[in-house]
């Protein structure tokens, strides 16, 4: 085998093993699987059994309250990963010298970070498919009518939230502060996604704010896709802007130790 080819194979296998290791660690860490998948799934099942929620939402374009909860819980999953799982793990790695130790290997710490992102992304994909599946088969909620539009909106939302997670990691001085910032961000973000009050039921001012928050924008785009059209430009651009801005600031300020 030519040298370069074998080297490329080694490289590939190092990255692949790193992704595998980080995914295993994410599962062992339990925050992602438990709070990011288990908890919203239970919520989904409970809410699905409440018949009052099967009435259409005023201004919800024909969707019922429960229909709206499905995308809200998909966003709940992304928000947990971005505010609890990712920053706590990465800030912990930095605090404990894991990233520093990686700097002395040929692989380098950037790939640990990438592997963490991939692992969290994988958990998010599993969660999204699972939630849509359970809502569909268990409670008869149809898939988003505009599937490619939904997929695009979800990808942008995932990118925006993981970028927010990176930003928290970059700005927090340690693991403790990262967890604290994440928790403080989680609740307002989920509020604006409509976890407690659907966005269409919010007072006008809050509704306007909601459209420009990451989860509010994500919710807007998802709702469009559920109603059968390609998501409108504003929420998509909002999500893309969060992804680009947060990621660039995070990269600019990121410290490996």
């Amino acid at each position: 085998m030519p040298m370069s080819a074998s080297k490329t194979a080694e490289r590939g296998s190092a990255t692949w093993r790193l992704i595998k290791a980080e995914s295993t660690l994410c599962v062992r860490d339990k925050v992602g699987p438990l709070w990011g998948i288990g908890f919203p799934l239970i919520l989904l099942v409970i809410l699905g059994s409440v018949s009052d929620l099967r009435t259409p939402v005023e201004g919800g374009g024909g969707l019922t309250y429960f229909d709206l909860y499905v995308p809200v819980l998909v966003l709940f999953n992304l928000a947990i990963l971005a505010t609890a799982s990712l920053p706590t793990t990465l800030a912990g790695y930095r605090e404990n010298g894991v990233l520093r130790r990686m700097r002395t290997t040929p692989v380098g710490p950037a790939r640990v970070l990438a592997a963490q992102l991939v692992a969290n992304f994988a958990i998010a994909v599993v969660a999204m498919v699972l939630f849509l599946g359970v809502a569909g088969f268990g409670f008869g909620v149809g898939l988003p009518e505009h599937l490619p539009g939904f997929a695009l909106a979800w990808l942008l939302a995932a990118a925006a939230l993981l970028a927010i997670g990176l930003l928290i990691t970059a700005l927090a001085p340690g693991r403790g502060p990262a967890t604290a910032i994440g928790t403080v961000l989680f609740f307002p973000m989920m509020f604006f996604a409509g976890l407690w009050v659907p966005i269409s039921q919010m007072p006008p001012l809050l509704r306007d704010i909601a459209h420009y928050t990451p989860l509010g924008a994500g919710m807007g785009a998802f709702q469009d896709a559920y109603q059968g059209h390609f998501p409108s430009v504003v929420p998509l651009l909002t999500l893309a802007a969060y992804a680009v801005v947060c990621a660039s600031v995070a990269i600019r300020w990121f410290r490996w130790e």
Partner: protein, 304 residues
């Protein structure tokens, strides 16, 4: 043959603290080079500059002809590193860590062999957070060697290890050296330095005080001998202090303690015999590397 590691006029400060003032070192291929010095002397800072983890303020460093900062990719493939403080993810298991790290290198060592050699075989499935301090230390040594490095820099190799594990680790390191690997060892253990190192650098307050073989360092510190005895009858100290080979005489109760160079014993016994004094409970201590360390730095080595 060009030296494997060359450090010239290294200077590094943290904010207002000068950690490394002026350090120059060369390490030759295949040798075990020890770095000794009191806490805070700048040992870790020096080796971290060599590893490319820190950016020196001044000075030049070459490792295997590579610049630690500019040629990182190439250097990391050939340099094995044990950090004084370095960690792994808490939930990563021992075997997983070794397998993962061995996949980082083009020609890794057999990680299972390292696991056995360092007495970690029964901990293969234990998570990092659940290891004892000494076991973490052993894993960190294994990770430094798993890439089959040409050069290994080990910061506080056996700190935290029990005496048996320490001896096993010394054997392991000697085995690694016999394969031609160049090793830099930061240590606080004089016994370790004497047993393993071909040459030692003594660093104090950010400067190299002396570079020599362990024996040469002891000799150059002029620590010499210490003789202790109980004279059979009262004697005048001046009998001994007048000897050119004796540097000092002190008394502790009935005991006379004489410090001097390597000829002191000869001179002392001759004088005593001439004065018909018998030396009871005679004890002679050869000054050790530890005495040299204390003499040259004015500090005790860290008792860890």
């Amino acid at each position: 043959m060009p030296p494997v590691i060359e450090v010239r006029d290294l200077h590094k400060r943290y904010d207002d603290k000068i950690a490394v003032d002026d350090v120059s070192l060369t390490v030759q291929e295949g040798e075990i080079f020890g770095i000794l010095g009191p806490n805070g002397a700048g040992k870790t800072t020096t080796v971290e500059c060599v590893e490319g983890l820190r950016t020196p303020d001044r000075g030049e460093i070459k490792v295997l002809g590579l610049d630690p900062l500019r040629d990182r990719a190439e250097l990391t493939r050939r340099l094995g590193v044990q950090l004084q403080a370095g960690h792994l993810p808490e939930r990563l298991q021992v075997a997983e860590a070794l397998e993962l790290y061995s996949s980082f290198y083009p020609e890794p060592a057999d990680w299972r062999g390292l696991l056995d050699g360092l007495g970690l075989a029964d901990k293969a499935k234990t998570r990092y957070a659940k290891l004892s301090g000494g076991q973490k230390q052993r894993l960190s040594i294994a990770l430094a060697l798993v890439g089959s490095p040409r050069v290994a820099i080990l910061d506080e190799l056996t700190t935290g290890l029990d005496p048996q594990a320490r001896r096993d680790t010394w054997d392991l390191i000697e085995g690694v050296r016999s394969r031609g690997v160049t090793i830099v060892l930061v240590t606080h253990f004089m016994e370790e330095a004497e047993r393993l190192c071909d040459r030692l650098a003594l660093i104090d307050a950010g400067r190299v005080v002396m570079v020599d073989t362990p024996a040469g360092l002891t000799e150059r510190a002029c620590a010499g001998q210490r003789i202790q005895f109980r004279p059979s009858r009262p004697m005048d100290d001046r009998l001994l202090t007048s000897l050119p080979d004796v540097s000092g005489v002190t008394r502790r109760g009935e005991l006379v303690i004489v410090n001097g160079n390597d000829n002191a014993l000869n001179a002392v016994t001759t004088v005593l015999a001439r004065n018909q004094i018998v030396a009871h409970q005679l004890r002679v201590e050869q000054a050790s590397l530890e005495d040299a360390f204390v003499r040259l730095t004015g500090k005790r080595p860290d008792p860890r």
